[in-house]
Every structure is written in structure tokens, then in C-alpha cells.
């Protein structure tokens, strides 16, 4: 048997190459799968195509003696297929590809599915994308015993990694980090109000996240009131005049500040007064303007939490570092699961199965003979001998065809072995 993955990702290939090799739609993937599995030597296939990677997983059931001579050609086969399918020269993309075989291929798939190979380590989307790719392959009947088991183990591994490490716990984008921090201070965001001072892409993004997290009352202020009104309409909020900034600070819990002002719009003295008037109810201020619009010394006031763009970036950086550390722990899980997968693969070898089945048959025969002997005690040794001979030859006759079939190197040998294990209840016994 042999498993092969041929692919490229954001680390090995620039976007220009990735987009050329991408399988843009579900239909394209289905078509490609149909073509792939028609090829001789390719038994099962799965195609994973996302904006950051294109990977083709193939299982080939070449017998082991042919393997050494021909596996090279499986990899070539896939490359040629890519070239033909996307109608581009093989030489133009060949250098960007990576090829992994067997153990490495399994480990690679587990890493990809667990989001260890992602651009943003720990982002959860990739697991869903792998699942979807597998479902497409299933619907095209492009997978069978081996890849079915492999894909299920990959998804299981990803689940383990997510549950047992903290890999996707802390946010690694600035606007998510801001929301995460706000949630550390406030409980139920739907009861909190937010004030957007000024406008800007990042402020709007953070505002969107906060609204997505349940914030309902939104106030928007801007030096040009018209602009405030526009934004208020967009976010279903209330436009308030810029001159009333202080009054509005008294009644809001979260402030997103992003104006083009060259100086501090919110000073420490101003906020001191505000805090007194709001009875020291906690307030969270985010200043994403450069130059800064909120006096950094405001953070010294009790129950005031002020973060500027650098603070948020620092949180993001340390979270990324944390994820990298967690990735090392995730690798242990992946190695473990890879090992388990190969244990399963090894159980699909024919000789041990034949031995197990024969042992089992012999065991049954002996047990039944004993029962028989204890029932009919007065039989002569000659009769007993012939009964022994008779049962043995029955078993040999019955076992003949399964043994021959299992020994034969036919095309779907693994399936046959797997079925034999189930039919004769070998694994049940081991459990």
C-alpha cells in the first residue's frame, strides 16, 4: 500500500501559483476526483482546496514489490494530472510542490486538520474545510476503507488537539483581541453601551465584532455630525454631537476612539470628572488613533481600562507566541494518533489474519470435541480418532477458499482483509 500527498500551501507558493492550481468550486473538485480515481493504480483520493492550500491525497494499492519501482510514478501521475486538469505547464509549478509519503503524509494531514500548518496557527476554519473536502469525496465515492479511516482519524485528532491544548483559545487579531479584553471586564455585553468617537476601518471592524457579541446600544460621534449620522444609520445607532463628548462618556461603558485629531481628545482631568459622575462604574477605552487621542495616564484612574493600538498588538503577539508553544504539545498528540493509524494499517496484513482465523477455527473445534467426548464417554479410541480426523478435514476444506483469497494480491486486498476480520470476529475477541 502507499499513501501520497502532493500539494502546496501559503508557505511554499505565492498566491499567483496557488490560485492557478486551486479547485475553485465543489463541481471542479468532483470532476477532478472522478478523473483521478479512474486512473490505474489510484484507488482512493481526496482533494483539499482552500485559499491557502491545495492538496491531493491519494491511496494507491500497488503491491509492495511493485511499490518500490512504481511509487515514483504515483507522484508523477498526480503532477501530470494537475498539469492537464488546470492546463498549465508542469515545470511552472513543480518547484512549489511538496510530496509526502506514508507516515509523513499521515502526519501532514493530521497537522493540517489540527490547524498547525495554518497561516494563523489554531484558526478553527481548516478543520471544517477538511471535513467538507472529505464529504465531497464521499459523495463521489472517491474514498474507501483507507482514506475513510484516515480522514475520520484526522478529524478526531483535530478535536483532541482543540480540547487538550489551548491552541485556539486566545485571539490573534487586533479587533478580536479588543473584544476579548472587553469580555474580561464586562459580563453581559447586551446590557452595555458603546461610544464610537471618530471613524476608521479598524474601529468599525471592532464595533462590528462587539455588536456581534451582543452590544445593543451604540452611540456615534464625529467632528462632522453628518458623518456621525451616516455611521449611525449603518450600525443602527444614535448619532450624538461631538461637543457633548463628556456627557456621553458618563453613560457609556465601552469607548472606541479613532479620530484624526493631533492631540488628546480625552484627557485625564476630563475622565477623572467623568468617573466621579458615573460613580466609578468601570469604563473600557480603546484608542486606535495615531497620534493617540486618549491621554495614556487615564489608565492610572481606578476602574478605567485603556488600551491603545500597541497594547492590543502586544496582546496579539503574546497570544501568537502562546499558540506556538501549544503547537508543540499538539505535535505529541499528532505523533500518537499517527502511530495508532499505522497500527490499524498493520492489522490489514494478510498473514496474521489467516493465522488468527485458523487458530480460532482450531479453538472451536477443540472445544466442541471436548464437549462431545464428555457426553459420549463409552466411545472407542478408534472412533474418536476418526472423529478428530473428520472435523479437521472439514475445517481445512472450509478454510481453503478464504485462505487462498486472502493470500492473493488482488486489487482491493485491504477491504477483503478488513471484511475477513469482521466476518470471523477477530477484532471482537481482541477487545
Amino acid at each position: 500500500m502507499s499513501l501520497t500527498v502532493v500539494g502546496l500551501n501559503h508557505k511554499t507558493a505565492p498566491i499567483e501559483i496557488r490560485e492557478k492550481l486551486a479547485f475553485g468550486s465543489k463541481e471542479a473538485i468532483k470532476e477532478a476526483l472522478r478523473e483521478l480515481i479512474q486512473k490505474e493504480n489510484i484507488a482512493e483520493a481526496v482533494i483539499l482546496s482552500t485559499c491557502n492550500r491545495v492538496e491531493i491525497y491519494v491511496y494507491s494499492n500497488l503491491s509492495s514489490d511493485k511499490e518500490n519501482r512504481e511509487t515514483k510514478s504515483i507522484e508523477e501521475l498526480i503532477k501530470e494530472f494537475i498539469s492537464k486538469f488546470h492546463k498549465i505547464e508542469k515545470s511552472s509549478f513543480e518547484n512549489y510542490l511538496y510530496v509526502y509519503k506514508d507516515r509523513q503524509a499521515v502526519e501532514h494531514l493530521f497537522k493540517v486538520t489540527s490547524s498547525l500548518d495554518s497561516m494563523i496557527v489554531g484558526e478553527p476554519q481548516i478543520t471544517g474545510q477538511v471535513k467538507e473536502s472529505y464529504e465531497i469525496a464521499l459523495s463521489e465515492r472517491a474514498t474507501s476503507l483507507i482514506l475513510n479511516h484516515l480522514m475520520n482519524r484526522a478529524l478526531f485528532t483535530a478535536k483532541r488537539v482543540r480540547n487538550e491544548t489551548r491552541i485556539s483559545e486566545n485571539p490573534v487579531s487586533v479587533s478580536y483581541a479588543a473584544v476579548g479584553l472587553i469580555r474580561k471586564v464586562f459580563d453581559d455585553l447586551s446590557k452595555k453601551s458603546i461610544l464610537l468617537v471618530g471613524a476608521g476601518e479598524m474601529a468599525e471592524l471592532a464595533l462590528r465584532h462587539l455588536i456581534g457579541n451582543g452590544v445593543k446600544s451604540v452611540y456615534i460621534t464625529n467632528r462632522t455630525f453628518e458623518r456621525a449620522k451616516e455611521l449611525a444609520k449603518e450600525f443602527n445607532g444614535v448619532a450624538v454631537p461631538f461637543e457633548n463628548l463628556k456627557e456621553n462618556l458618563i453613560k457609556t461603558d465601552i469607548v472606541l476612539c479613532s479620530t484624526a485629531a493631533p492631540n488628546y481628545v480625552i484627557t485625564e482631568n476630563m475622565l477623572k470628572e467623568v468617573m466621579y459622575l458615573r460613580k466609578y462604574k468601570p469604563i473600557f477605552l480603546i484608542d486606535i488613533s495615531v497620534p493617540r487621542n486618549i491621554d495614556p495616564s487615564c489608565n492610572n484612574l481606578d476602574n478605567v481600562y485603556l488600551y491603545n493600538i500597541d497594547d492590543l498588538q502586544a496582546v496579539v503577539d503574546s497570544n501568537i507566541l502562546e499558540r506556538k508553544k501549544e503547537a508543540e504539545r499538539a505535535m505529541i498528540i499528532i505523533k500518537e494518533e499517527t502511530e495508532k493509524f499505522f497500527q490499524w494499517i498493520n492489522s490489514l496484513e494478510s498473514v496474521p489474519v489467516i493465522v488468527s482465523i485458523r487458530n480460532k477455527a482450531e479453538q472451536i473445534r477443540q472445544e466442541e470435541l471436548e464437549k462431545f467426548k464428555s457426553k459420549f464417554r463409552d466411545l472407542s479410541p478408534e472412533v474418536l480418532n476418526s472423529i478428530d480426523y473428520l472435523t479437521q478435514s472439514i475445517i481445512n476444506k472450509i478454510m481453503h477458499y478464504p485462505t487462498v483469497a486472502l493470500k492473493n494480491n488482488c486489487e482491493s486486498k485491504e477491504i477483503l482483509i478488513y471484511s475477513a476480520r469482521r466476518l470471523f470476529g477477530i477484532d471482537n475477541e481482541e477487545e
Binding site: 489551548r166 483559545e169 486566545n170 474580561k184 459580563d187
Partner: protein, 268 residues
């Protein structure tokens, strides 16, 4: 004497304690379910133990050092369950840690049923002790949650996160829990003090006992926290600091005074 129930509860609490410590070190919440079930089964056995003792002695099982610690630990765990459910926060691990430690101390004291002097033994003295210790249990948890509040607050304010904060609830919840613990603990403690004082006066007349003076001091501190918290403009951080201070007074009253002085509360 049903001591087996105590041993079993202590063992289960110990298991919960270990898992909680492991969870805190790993900065993960994933052992919480196991902690919950261990604590719950331990708590049920513990409850059985308290009931058996009550039935056997006809007095609240709170008078010897062993009994007081055991009931103290029980109260803390009960309140931790209530907090976990009513605020839907994962804080049982902190409750079981505290509970186990107190229970563990209790295991070292003699377990016989203390014989109260007949003139003391009464319904009111039961009420006094049960309420006082329950109040102190609430204060102890207020101490824990105030500390957690300060840890979380400091991390957010200083912008330095070490990962431990991620298993803590948010500041608003922590503050609310603190508020409610004092809100319920203070009246209980007050009633306990009043009942105890009346009983004491009726027995020996106006005289001052060190425990009484200490309890009164503690009561004054909690009164100020209570007042300042009910009056909303009190800053949360300072309330947390004061709660920690008050607890240190209480715990000295609970262990120190009882053991060091020749007081009426000298353990039985």
C-alpha cells in the same frame, strides 16, 4: 460514629483538590466536570456525616475544633455550588481547594462528641454557632473572590497576561459575587454575634471575653464594607482589599483566639 463518612468525603475532596490544582497549573477548565462530580459525591457523604452526628449528640455538630472545621468546609462547598449554578461560572475549583484545606485541618483534631455544659447547651447556642460559621464561610469565599478580582484586575490594567486569567470569570461577575457574599454574610454574622452576646450576658453578666472583642472588631470592618458596597460609588478595587483584610481578622478569630486565649470559646 460515622467517621467513615468523614474519611470518604475527605478523600473525595482531596481528589477534587488535586484535579483543581492541576487545572490551574495547566490553565485549562477541562477537568471541571470531574471536579464537580468528586465534590458533589463528597459533599453528599459529608452531609450524611453531619446529620449522623447531629442525631447522635442532639446538638449542632459544630462545637469541637474537628466539628467546626468540618462544618466550615461543608458550608464553603455548599456556597461554591450555589455560586457556580447561579452565576454560571466555573469557580468550583477554588471552592474545593479551600474546602479541602479546612477539612484537612479538621482531620487532625479529636473526633469525639464534645460535651457542652448543660447551662450552655440550648437551641440558641446551636443557632449562634451555625450562623457564625456559615457567615465566616461566606466571608472566606469573599476573600477568595476578592483575591481573584485583584489578580484579574491587575492583569488587565498592567496589560500583562500569564494565562491564569483565562480561567477566571470577568471582573463584573467577580465583583457581583463578592458583593453578594458580603450582602448575605454580614447579616448572618450579625445575628450570630447578637445571639451569642445575649446568651453570654445571660450566663455570666456583662464581662468581656477576648473572642467577643475580636468579633466585634471584625464586625465593624464588615459593617464598613457592607455600607460602602451598598453605597454604590465605592471603588471595587478598594472593596476587594478591605475584604481581604477583614478575612484575615476573621480567620485569626476563628483559629487564633480559640487556641491562644483562655476564652469561653476554648475548643472542647
Amino acid at each position: 460514629m460515622g467517621t467513615i463518612f468523614f474519611e470518604l468525603a475527605l478523600t473525595l475532596y482531596f481528589a477534587g483538590f488535586i484535579l483543581s490544582i492541576v487545572g490551574i497549573i495547566r490553565k485549562k477548565n477541562d477537568l471541571d466536570k470531574a471536579v464537580f462530580f468528586l465534590s458533589l459525591i463528597g459533599f453528599i457523604l459529608h452531609t450524611v456525616y453531619l446529620i449522623i452526628r447531629y442525631i447522635k449528640s442532639g446538638q449542632a455538630p459544630v462545637f469541637s475544633m474537628h466539628e467546626a472545621n468540618s462544618y466550615f468546609a461543608w458550608s464553603i462547598l455548599l456556597v461554591s455550588f450555589l455560586i457556580s449554578f447561579s452565576y454560571k461560572v466555573k469557580v468550583l475549583n477554588f471552592g474545593i481547594i479551600l474546602s479541602f484545606l479546612i477539612m484537612f485541618i479538621g482531620a487532625f483534631f479529636p473526633r469525639g462528641i464534645p460535651s457542652l455544659k448543660p447551662e450552655i447547651k440550648s437551641f440558641w447556642i446551636d443557632i449562634h454557632a451555625v450562623m457564625a460559621i456559615f457567615g465566616i464561610a461566606l466571608f472566606s469565599l469573599a476573600f477568595v473572590f476578592s483575591s481573584l478580582y485583584l489578580i484579574q484586575e491587575k492583569a488587565i490594567k498592567s496589560k500583562k497576561f500569564r494565562g491564569f486569567e483565562s480561567i477566571l470569570p470577568n471582573l463584573e461577575i467577580l465583583d457581583k459575587i463578592n458583593y453578594h457574599l458580603i450582602f448575605w454574610g454580614f447579616p448572618l454574622y450579625t445575628i450570630a454575634l447578637v445571639v451569642g452576646f445575649i446568651k453570654y450576658v445571660s450566663l455570666v453578666g456583662f464581662m468581656f471575653d477576648p473572642k467577643e472583642i475580636w468579633s466585634f472588631l471584625t464586625w465593624i470592618v464588615y459593617l464598613s464594607i457592607y455600607y460602602l458596597r451598598v453605597k454604590e460609588d465605592w471603588r471595587k478595587k478598594k472593596a476587594a482589599y478591605l475584604t481581604i483584610l477583614a478575612f484575615l481578622l476573621v480567620i485569626f478569630g476563628f483559629f487564633g483566639i480559640n487556641l491562644l486565649t483562655e476564652s469561653f470559646h476554648k475548643p472542647l
